[in-house]
């Protein structure tokens, strides 16, 4: 992929920082989760970080991103502060949803995150609505609908692609295809091929969702086409879910076994950075350590923040 070689150091380091932040935060959540300090169902995205980083690098704060239940990765990549996320997981007033949302309902209006939903599929339509608003008010922001492979089985998926195409709306559809609908593998849950189905409506491309530079390049093309008035685009990112659907445990399905050299987006990007001379090994170690410090800070912030007053919801 020739464009891989031409990426600027700033962009590459942003991708790495973002992916590492998502990964290390997720690992920390997984470690803390059994202690019950976070009373909220968490759907971690370890292994899937390249999709969040590669796409969100091309989005602005004005672009409105609507997420499903697997929120942490794309929300952090879109700009949600780590402290706001962690405090929300801890159920504190300083959380991004003031303790009313939890892991699956994250909000950050300043960074174009108007909310996320735990009912698979429905939020696809909300991104289309944002695109409609952009068109009707002649503003140049994008609506971004973010969903997994399982959501392509819901009727709202078809309805949303159809309407976005009919109205030629500025909408980016991102399918973060981790191969599973809860525990059901793609071959069992979808009779269709996702890219060909989407291509009936709009330009659709499939990329290796474990290769952040591939996602970055494909997202660049898609976003550019939308911003120049080309209507909706569909980005199908095939990635791998290392964890179980929900919770802190690793996925134990033998057919989904992880090969780090093949599957880990961070491992692959770091190898590229070292080999191309864009970053030194010492730099990469320092970055990981710095991110650990930010996570420590976010946890301290969450732990020291107040809980909401129960009387707010009492009858």
């Amino acid at each position: 992929m020739p464009r891989n070689k031409t990426i600027q150091r700033d962009a590459a380091m942003w991708l790495l920082r973002t992916m590492r932040t998502i990964r290390q935060t997720s690992e920390r959540i997984a470690a803390l989760y059994p202690t019950n300090v976070m009373e909220t169902p968490v759907h971690l995205c370890i292994g899937q970080e390249a999709v969040a980083a590669g796409v969100c690098r091309h989005l602005t704060d004005a672009d409105k991103l609507f997420l499903g239940h697997r929120t942490h990765g794309p929300a952090l990549a879109k700009g949600l502060p780590l402290r706001s996320l962690m405090a929300e997981l801890y159920g504190r007033t300083t959380g991004c949803s003031h303790g009313y949302g939890g892991s699956m309902h994250l909000l950050d209006l300043a960074h174009g995150l108007p909310g996320s939903s735990a009912i698979v599929g429905g939020s696809i339509a909300l991104g289309v609505g944002a695109g409609l608003a952009a068109k009707m008010t002649a503003q140049n922001f994008l609506g971004v609908s973010w969903f997994g492979d399982a959501a392509t089985n819901a009727g709202v998926f078809y309805e949303s692609l159809n309407f976005a195409t009919l109205q030629k709306l500025p909408v980016l559809f991102v399918c973060e295809d981790n191969g599973y609908s809860n525990v059901m593998p793609r071959a069992a849950h979808s009779a269709h091929d996702i890219q060909s189905l989407a291509a009936q409506f709009m330009p659709a491309c499939t990329v290796d969702g474990t290769d952040v530079l591939a996602v970055y390049a494909a997202a660049q093309d898609a976003v550019d086409a939308i911003r120049t008035g080309g209507g909706p685009q569909f980005l199908h990112c095939r990635t791998k879910r290392w964890m179980k659907h929900q919770g802190h445990e690793r996925c134990d399905l033998p057919e989904n076994a992880v090969d780090v050299a093949r599957d880990c987006p961070i491992h692959k990007l770091e190898a590229f950075l070292r080999d191309s001379g864009l970053a030194s090994a010492a730099e990469l170690v320092a970055l990981a350590r710095q991110i650990e410090g930010s996570i420590d800070d976010a946890i301290r912030f969450a732990e020291s923040s107040p809980f909401p007053s129960p009387h707010l919801v009492e009858v």
Binding site: H98, P114, G115, L126, G129, A133, M136, F141, G155, V156
Partner: protein, 348 residues
């Protein structure tokens, strides 16, 4: 904010200008769109020359009227996404029954979005549904369901009965920063009434006394309110008739005050009986004014089964002003009427 100048307590003076309920709805929407460029209308056949039974004919801003495919669920999500992006959608459904296709969006999304984020975002969105009845429309084109929608936290439910209310409540619903389910009855569309030409809003959550009386409190909304009024006027009944106008928020204070005075309560609720609006009114009145009640409170509405089609069956199924009058007269006479809801259930 163009809406902030409207005082919700202001009552537009009547001017003798007579227009229909349908024309009042059309005028309210047209004036809202003229006042606020963020207001737009969306829905199946919204842009058709048929104009949604005339309620959207010849609007001044057709560029903000958008017809949609039959995709009610996604279109509700589209309206929500637009509302979260700065617009004020009015999503119209030719039948209330069609809204049920969108219940995931209406209940899980629209109704919950403000609560899930502690009201850091608002959802200024109106969902209009038109209630059908008669001519064999049957079980899937005749539902009302205002009590069902009102059960969901996060939805206001508005059911105007007069042209004056239709316009003022529609404008108030569009002005509101939270989701409103606005249910219009097709049988009211031709009714004429006094409607001021000016823009005005009516408070959501304020009942209207349609008839003053001392012997019996009747609570009725939408078409039921008009049928109750007809019954009272034709038979000269001494009834305090209260139209709540909005099912939620519910002006229970006005209802309770009336029951404290009359000691008798009948709720006429053209909706399914089990756990519905009438049940809610009876429950709240019983909780608050039990000792004022001189008769067991009663409910009148639909039988607990889907609407039939044949005219013979329809005429048996639906209440009429005459039937309402008969029940009111018995209650005024102190007779303990007990509507046998079980008898209306299909025998198993």
């Amino acid at each position: 904010m163009p809406w902030s100048k409207f005082d919700s307590t202001y009552s537009a003076p009547l001017t003798g200008r007579q227009i229909s309920y349908c024309a009042a709805l059309r005028e309210g929407l047209d004036q809202a769109m003229g006042l606020d460029p963020r207001v737009f209308a969306i829905g199946l056949d919204a842009d058709d020359k048929f104009g949604v039974f005339g309620s959207m004919s010849n609007l001044t801003h057709p560029e903000r009227v958008l017809g949609t495919p039959i995709s009610e669920n996604a279109m509700t999500g589209v309206a929500l996404g637009a509302a979260l992006s700065g617009l004020r959608p009015v999503h119209v459904h030719l039948r209330v029954d069609f809204m049920l296709v969108a219940m995931d969006q209406i209940v899980n999304y629209v109704a919950k979005w403000e609560d899930m984020f502690d009201r850091q975002v608002r959802v200024p969105m109106v969902i209009r549904g038109i209630v059908g009845r008669g001519w064999g429309c049957g079980a899937q084109h005749s539902q009302t369901l205002h009590g069902w929608f009102a059960q969901i936290p996060g939805l206001k439910v508005v059911t105007p009965s007069t042209p004056y209310d239709a316009k003022g409540l529609l404008l108030a619903s569009i002005a509101d920063d939270s989701p409103v389910v606005f249910l219009e009855h097709r049988w009211l569309y031709k009714n004429m009434g006094d409607v001021p030409a000016e823009i005005y809003t009516l408070p959501l959550g304020k009942a209207h006394r349609l008839h003053q009386g001392d012997r019996l409190t009747v609570v009725a909304n939408s078409l039921a309110a008009m049928h109750a009024l007809t019954a009272i006027e034709q038979h000269g009944l001494d009834v305090d008739l209260i139209d709540p106008r909005t099912i939620k928020p519910l002006d229970i204070d006005t209802i309770v005050d009336s029951v404290r005075h009359t000691g008798r309560l009948l709720v006429v609720d053209y909706d399914f009986p089990f756990g519905g609006f009438a049940s809610e009114v009876v429950a709240q009145v019983t909780e608050r004014a039990f000792t004022s009640l001189r008769l067991p409170p009663q409910r009148l509405g639909f039988p607990d089964r889907g609407m039939p089609s044949s005219g013979v069956l329809e005429r048996a199924y639906y209440q009429t002003p005459e039937r309402l009058a008969a029940v009111m007269q018995r209650m005024i006479a102190g007779e303990s009427v007990h509507a046998d809801h079980q008898a209306l259930v299909v025998p198993s």
